[in-house]
Amino acid sequence: MSSRPVGHGHAGGMLGPVRDEEDEPRPNTRPKRNFRRLIPYFRPYRTRVTWTIVLMLVVTAAGLAGPALAQVAIDDGIQQGSIPALVTIVGIFVVIGLIGWIAGYWQSYLSSWVGERVLLDLRRQLFRHMMRLELGHHERTPTGRSVSRLTSDIEAINQLVVEGATSLVINGLTLIGVIIILLAYDWKLALAAFAIFPILALGTWWFRVRATAAYRLTRERVASVLTVLQENLSGIRVVQAHGRQEEARRRFREANADYRSANMSTITVSGIYFPGVELLAALGTALILWYGGNRVLNSDLSVGVMVAFIGYLSSFFDPIQQLSQLYNTFQSAMAALEKIFGVLETDPRISDRTEAVDLPDIAGRVRLEHVSFGYGREYVIRDVTLDIEPGSTVALVGATGAGKSTLAKLIARLYDPDEGVVSIDGIDLRDVREESLRSEMGIVPQEGHLFSGTIADNVRFAHPLATDDDVRRALDAVGALEFVDALPDGMHTDVQERGARLSAGQRQLICFARALVPDPRLIILDEATSSIDIGTERRIEEALDRLLVGRTAVVIAHRLSTIRRADRILVVDDGRIAEQGSHDELMRAGGQYAGLYADWEQAAGAAHE
């Protein structure tokens, strides 16, 4: 976020409309290119697209037939006094109307279908791509932003593709159709009517320029209202606790007023433009009445043709207004496309090599050889070499930021090392198909993230084919069955409804069960730091015993009981392994670990004074 002016001497400025760091891309950066990139998505549905366009032609033609038929009815029917001719024409009129109805139905349905279907494909592709993107990308990108790529941005394109495209084509065709029909009727009168074109073109250009700026500003301001609102509602308890309601209200009012004035300018721009177009329509009518009227008097033109001319002129201005209204939709959609393609262009970085193999049955020996890794320019892990015996438990300890979790993530291949090799049973992880690696690995992240659905759904997350019995066994193994069975629907209880009632510890236990279901050889566990209620705490320890037995385990440990239980303790300091050994060995060595331990004992002892 760039620097913002901050008043010195007092520290106000709270709650102000903070500009979203991710503004819309500048207009007209690459709209053509983005639009072209959308075209391949329509290719699988060529047949439907073709039908849609044919139907659009039919609908437009049916719509344009009205005034022409009225003209024939006046000139050939009424003025000739021929009732049979009149009836025939009316019959044709009704038939064309019917065709228009049927064609209109199918055209509208098909174009919705194609539009929505293309967006469904785009959305699925986008989501699949997001899932594949490396963890680092997600750590840098706020969740809300990724979600809005999948929701509000898709929605913006939806408006263009589903409603806009139909309107664009039909109105465009109508415009062309009207010009052709008018020229065919009487090219001299048509040219006279077209005299207003230059003014119209000029006005439309003016509208385009002004509207672009005004709509853009409105979108930014509305985002800012949302931001201030969201933040104040989330933090309302803090605001009230500090009695800052008045200030919050003032700031909100500012954002609200900014939005109003931006919106007012869009209303002014369209308020001038659209009546202007109507005025031009009236001028066109006047031109036709004057020039056409004189020619009718000279018997150079029929009354019917003149009436048809006036009728067509109004169906000429309608499409122009409609097309201008589309402009905002078009702009928003282009901005959204730009952002979506931006995500799709991001390289997933970790992907299977073409020659990658499935992992054979493994014993679970993990080896790191001269591994270095950094998220940015600086290395967080520096030249680490490490060998973990199959079936042993290794505890990683050290201060925040020492590199414990990065080390664990490298072993889990959530990142690839910049230098060196991480291998399991001698096989370089980069040569293994990711899916087969994951099936041998159980990972328990620190925060007990559960997905919506039932407890059973969550436990069988990694193994969707697991039976209810498998789930039960896993829950039982981690000692979670007791509390799960006590829930109203047992393991089929929805975690969302009861979500708030599942304590942090209970969520942890469910995460343990989830890791247990695929029966992995290797477990990577990031121990929770948050305090859990006392009963559950003991249960978690028992669960850990059962979870880790017979498997290779790497634990980022925060609890001394876990550390003591480990076969080997690795003290991580500044990206390197500073010390390693069992608890007793390290205590005897009297190094960093012994110091840490003494600190702890002192803190525990303080309570007994």
Binding site: L86, G97, W106, H242, R249, R559, L560
Partner: protein, 561 residues
């Protein structure tokens, strides 16, 4: 007014066309052509001017209504009590303050005016048509009710499907949200493809429901395009015969035809506008629901000032309280905390520890009993005074997207830089703040620089310190940080606690050891209180908690990097 003139102009134009055909082209008054053409231009100009006025005025009024309503909603939300926000999710309130308000604005700004204009057009045009020819008018207007009926029916049938589409869209959003928030889990279990399939299922469900909606909308819209064709055919056929028989003049026929086309749009729109009105009414109701909610916590008209020299003595007398009055969380609590005392409250999750502290700054009112701060019932004092007197530091402190400086000075915006720096130093936060990219001017919070849990915690402590409260509540303030950070924070706390009443809620022994006295809470009651030694000697419950959770060697205090 503008709308009336506008309508009059629109209606005059076909009349002028008729005059041209009947009077001029039939050869009677050839020299009237020029004046009539000028009249068309004049009417066009007048219409344009009034259309501009109408658009700008309607826009202005509707925006003003939207602005005022949103402002009122926000101001009212600021006054509502904690209990309200416990019940109402933020997303729910957001949608009321945004999309519901917009629905109301659209109806008030455009819908109402159009409804008025359309009704006016209908009445006026009908009268004109009747003047030209009564039977033909009746025939032609038969399409009107049919159109309106179809429009009403369309909105009735389509609306529930559209609501369902919205619901399916919400499911898609939810799946997207939790998959991205839980991306570590997805990746850890190699479920990227499976998760994408789950997303696909939701997205496809939304697609197929959208298609149901599209089918309905396509049907009704094309039908509404067809019905006017029937009306116009009838007019051409019957009107044509009447003209041939000399009942109508050619000009009258053309005028009739042009007027009829003026009616198509209003008929079609009225149905839609009725649907809009219903939706706006529903939205309006949701907005007014907020405005009609009375704040549960109300300040007394004449507040009693807190004694100036009060040291923060807290008396809780016979307090019974439940967030849901039928399910009390606290039962008949009596607790006396003398000024300057440091008290730790311990007990199992859900025993009511935090709830006790929430009553002191009057975030909630108890159902029975009373809470006194320095001898004054908190219900008799000004809210601002009470809240200023109690500082709270919670487990996950909320920081605003603003500078570090502004976040620290949140409770006292008029504080000088020196005071802010001092508070930060006391909270052991000064050094890490100065190491941030822009020091105290670094923007933090949701849309700013990401701070660690321990850093956020220390900023919250500085924020509480700057207000200089009489009573400081630390509610699991160190629970979500790792052990090494905890020690930093404990040091900060010791500094800040000096000279004020402090209530600590914690699980960790190292934090509890800061207290003079321990209060043991069990199932909404105070089970016992005393020093660690007293309790250890006489309370089996305390010994159990102590043995299980507090005294065991299960924590490691790591040296700072």
């Amino acid at each position: 007014m503008a709308a009336l003139v506008l309508m009059a102009c629109t209606i005059t134009l076909p009349y002028l066309t008729r005059r041209v055909i009947d009077d001029v082209l039939n050869g009677q008054q050839q020299d009237a052509l020029l004046p009539l053409v000028i009249a068309v231009i004049v009417v066009g100009v007048v219409r344009a001017i009034f259309a501009l006025m109408r658009r700008i005025m309607a826009g202005y009024v509707s925006l003003a209504v939207e602005f005022d309503l949103r402002d009122m909603v926000f101001a009212h939300l600021q006054r509502l009590s904690f209990g309200y926000f416990d019940r109402m999710p933020v997303g729910q309130l957001m949608s009321r303050a945004t999309s519901d308000l917009q629905t109301v604005r659209f109806f008030l700004g455009y819908g109402l005016i159009f409804l008025f204009m359309h009704v006016f057009t209908l009445v006026f045009v009908t009268v004109v048509l009747l003047l030209i020819n009564v039977p033909l008018t009746i025939l032609a207007l038969l399409m009107g009710p049919a159109l309106a009926l179809v429009a009403v029916r369309s909105s009735k049938r389509t609306h529930p499907v559209l609501v369902d589409v919205q619901q399916k869209e919400a499911d898609v959003t939810q799946t997207a949200e939790e998959s991205i928030a839980g991306i570590r889990v997805v990746k850890a279990f190699g479920q990227e493809v499976a998760q994408a399939d789950r997303f696909s299922v939701r997205a496809s469900a939304e697609f197929s429901r959208s298609m149901d909606a599209a089918r309905l909308q396509s049907f009704y819209q094309s039908l509404m395009g067809f019905l006017p064709v029937v009306g116009v055919s009838v007019v051409i056929a019957v009107g044509g015969v009447l003209t041939i028989n000399g009942v109508l003049t050619l000009g009258e026929f053309v005028q009739f035809y042009l007027y009829l086309s003026l009616l198509v749009f209003p008929f079609r729109s009225i149905g839609m506008l009725i649907g809009n009105a219903q939706r706006a009414a529903a939205s309006g109701q949701r907005v007014f629901e907020i405005l009609d909610t009375e704040p549960e916590i109300v300040e007394p008209a004449v507040p009693v000032p807190l004694p100036a020299d009060g040291g923060g003595a807290v008396h809780i007398e016979g307090v019974t309280f439940g967030y849901d009055p039928d399910r009390p969380v606290l039962r008949d609590i009596n607790l006396d905390i003398p000024a300057g005392r440091v008290v730790a409250i311990i007990g199992a999750t859900g025993s009511g520890k935090s709830t006790i502290t929430q009553l002191i700054p009057r975030f909630y009112d108890p159902q029975h009993g009373r809470v006194l701060l320095d001898g004054v019932d908190v219900r008799d004092a000004a809210l601002d005074d009470v809240r200023r007197a109690v500082g709270m530091v919670g487990q996950e402190p909320f920081l605003f997207s603003d500078t570090v400086r502004a976040n620290i000075a949140f409770g006292r915006p008029e504080a000088t830089d020196e005071e802010v720096f001092l508070a930060a130093r006391r909270a052991q936060a000064d050094s890490f703040i100065r190491a941030l990219p822009e020091g105290y001017d670094t923007v933090v919070g949701e849309r700013g620089f990401t701070l660690s849990g321990g850093q956020r915690q220390r900023i919250a402590i500085a924020r509480a310190f700057l207000v200089d409260p009489r009573v400081l509540v630390l509610d699991e303030a160190t629970a979500s940080v790792d052990a090494s950070t905890e020690r930093e924070i404990s040091r900060a706390l010791q500094q800040v606690m000096e000279g004020r009443t402090t209530i600590i809620i914690a699980h960790r022994l190292s934090t509890i050891s800061l207290a003079d006295e321990i209060v043991l809470v069990d199932d909404g009651r105070i089970a016992d209180r005393g020093t660690h030694d007293d309790l250890f000697a006489r309370s089996p419950l305390y010994r159990e908690i102590h043995d299980q959770g507090l005294a065991r060697p299960d924590e490691l205090v790591a040296r700072d990097a």
